[in-house]
Symmetry: none
Subunit: 223 residues, 4 copies
Amino acid sequence: MATEDFDTAPEPDGAGAPAPGTRRPGGRTARTRVSVLEAALAELVEHGYADTRIDRIADRAKVAATTVYRRWGTLENIVVDLADHLAVSITLGSGPTLEGDLRTVARAVVALYGNPAHRAWQCAMVSAAAASPKARRALSEVLAKRRESTAVAVTEAIARGEVPPGTDGHEVIRATVAPLYLRMYITAEPVGEAEADRAAAAAALAARAGLYVVGRAEDGTAR
Amino acid sequence: MATEDFDTAPEPDGAGAPAPGTRRPGGRTARTRVSVLEAALAELVEHGYADTRIDRIADRAKVAATTVYRRWGTLENIVVDLADHLAVSITLGSGPTLEGDLRTVARAVVALYGNPAHRAWQCAMVSAAAASPKARRALSEVLAKRRESTAVAVTEAIARGEVPPGTDGHEVIRATVAPLYLRMYITAEPVGEAEADRAAAAAALAARAGLYVVGRAEDGTAR
Amino acid sequence: MATEDFDTAPEPDGAGAPAPGTRRPGGRTARTRVSVLEAALAELVEHGYADTRIDRIADRAKVAATTVYRRWGTLENIVVDLADHLAVSITLGSGPTLEGDLRTVARAVVALYGNPAHRAWQCAMVSAAAASPKARRALSEVLAKRRESTAVAVTEAIARGEVPPGTDGHEVIRATVAPLYLRMYITAEPVGEAEADRAAAAAALAARAGLYVVGRAEDGTAR
Amino acid sequence: MATEDFDTAPEPDGAGAPAPGTRRPGGRTARTRVSVLEAALAELVEHGYADTRIDRIADRAKVAATTVYRRWGTLENIVVDLADHLAVSITLGSGPTLEGDLRTVARAVVALYGNPAHRAWQCAMVSAAAASPKARRALSEVLAKRRESTAVAVTEAIARGEVPPGTDGHEVIRATVAPLYLRMYITAEPVGEAEADRAAAAAALAARAGLYVVGRAEDGTAR
DNA sequence: TCATAAACGAGACGGTACGTCTCGTCTTGTG
DNA sequence: CACAAGACGAGACGTACCGTCTCGTTTATGA
């Protein structure tokens, strides 16, 4: 195993003071939060993560910059907090074949990429993740949660006898979205429905072949 | 097609003055360049892209900060310039099967990730790419160049009749490395030889099934 | 006359609401006041005027900061209010000579300077006085009040025929303490009984010579 | 001896980096310095020490605030630096009597107080001195330097046989100015030529009586 | 080999954003 | 329903880093 996780700092986030916004989470506090998150998203869309400034967020949110620093401290924290606010749910129509379901997932991923707000946020997360363990963990969690809701497609496929028992749903979803994410967030190559469908087909094929059966992963190759 | 490339700025890099370091590229000039690039790499390893400071690079390279600004201007440019300096070449032993070759490629990718210097640089590139079109293009080119040398495996496989004629070599390689890159640079999940081999197997399977035949990509799905 | 008083701001202290703490000056109200004043004094001793913070005073007094703001509004007001709380009285033993009495006064001034609490407060007053007219007036009053009780020594000396009739008691006291205050609060040079006694001697000498006879002050010099 | 000096902080001003402005003290550097000092003085006159803001100084001096922080760090340092820039010299005409000379000194002190710029600066110094040992030392030095040039009046008076040999010039000057400083910077009572002349007369009288003979100070009183 | 233009070194500065610290006010939820 | 505690607005602070400018020095390079 080449690596686990490249954490570095010990994150001295110990429970000192209970962070503003937690103690009295109603009324103004909540309004402020929404207002800031929305402003942050707008700034991400307009300027991108690297050129997003906290004071500009505060201005746009009609909030004192001090408040932003008090509540979030860093831009990274704001972006991470946006995850909840953006809460995305992919609903798949329980199609008759695994490939159909995966195609739905893949197309949804591409569609999200077409949404400027979501795309800007996701880009920001990727950029932040490459720099900080905290963002890394957060992004990891968000994606895991999303997979959670789509991995049921695999369960059903197992029930239908379409793929071998023991097939790891998460792994199948990963295989489906990986080529898309590569293009979208790393090489910035064009992504469309063609790519989505091809990725779904490849993942379904491999799943049917039993490549994602848990445990078989241990010896690595299947065939 | 959901997107092409999300460039924004026109990059006003017009040929004003001929950029220091090009006119007299010998002796001290060359020494300076190497020294700075090496220092930059070390800083990337130590602090990560987000916390790498130009002045610290200059200090470490025993060079005036002014010089760094004159020659590269931005950290991003330095990181991009590092691409040449890190020149990686994956040599595959022309094995008897496509899957074998892909496995070699995948394992090489994982091995590179195990190299702290290369990993730090690649993380920096991903982070920068998420923010700037220039970095995006550069990263895109680097990866394309790498694929160039490994895509021959597919050509040979076609010759052997292992995969259908018209199969797109680049696409096969992309399919091979995508799950690894996803784990390495986006979700920060563990990556090892197991994952490498599984990715290679899946890509080979899909290639054999004709999923990566050029032109068929147009209508998207291959059945 | 080079100057009168360097007031600037109009002091918008007009009688709007009757200031909290004036209406019901018993029980808790009084306890709070004492507690805050004492805390303020302690903070002055510990940190000095420039580094004394209202919230720290509140903490130490076990009182809500809001209360402090309501009652005093500014640190300056607290310091001014401390004047009463510190009420100092110099009792002179009605000695046989003016110089003796003045020596008592001078030594008392030096002794007060040796008291950390009083010294801290006095330093604060001087510092505040250099900045605000209100503090200036307050300090002026405090010192005038102190002189009031000691100037009787001059009245008695006049009665004894030791100094000419019409000698201004306040002026004699001023002359006595001036060199000490100069050292203590302006040049921060050492001050001890030697200086006290010398100042008393000089003031007594000048008083006997009739330098402080009222009216003669008009033409300034007394020969 | 009640006290020496009320220093507190260890002043971590050790020779780390040689502070900007010392290495290349010509041209722009010098212009910047003058510009800032002049602006600072103007702000002191307009707003007083307590309400002088560094960024406003920078604005007025048409200099980046960063530069001010780099060169001086604190307002206190600027005010201290102003001492040199304001370089005051009292020239006394070598009159025939000590009292005449002292009168010149006293009147000069009052006249300086009439100069708004000098008065604002001196008030600032007093205020700062009450808060920081560094300012205290600086003010102390400035005043000592001024006395240095006027204390010669006493030397000449000794030569003329007007005052006893061994009379301490500095102490005589202190006695002269003390009542004026008390009124000007502590009690803010009016000060004019009348007070100046009276103070000069009293100091001269005490000096002639031998009160300021060095060594006699040890046992304190002279009589 | 030597003149000269290129590249570098070093100090200072302008400017942006950051993150913090206070002060004093306003708001909220709880006793 | 009052009020203590929480959250906020405003403003200044001091710092970090970026990128530029200036001037003086060193060093390639080609005539």
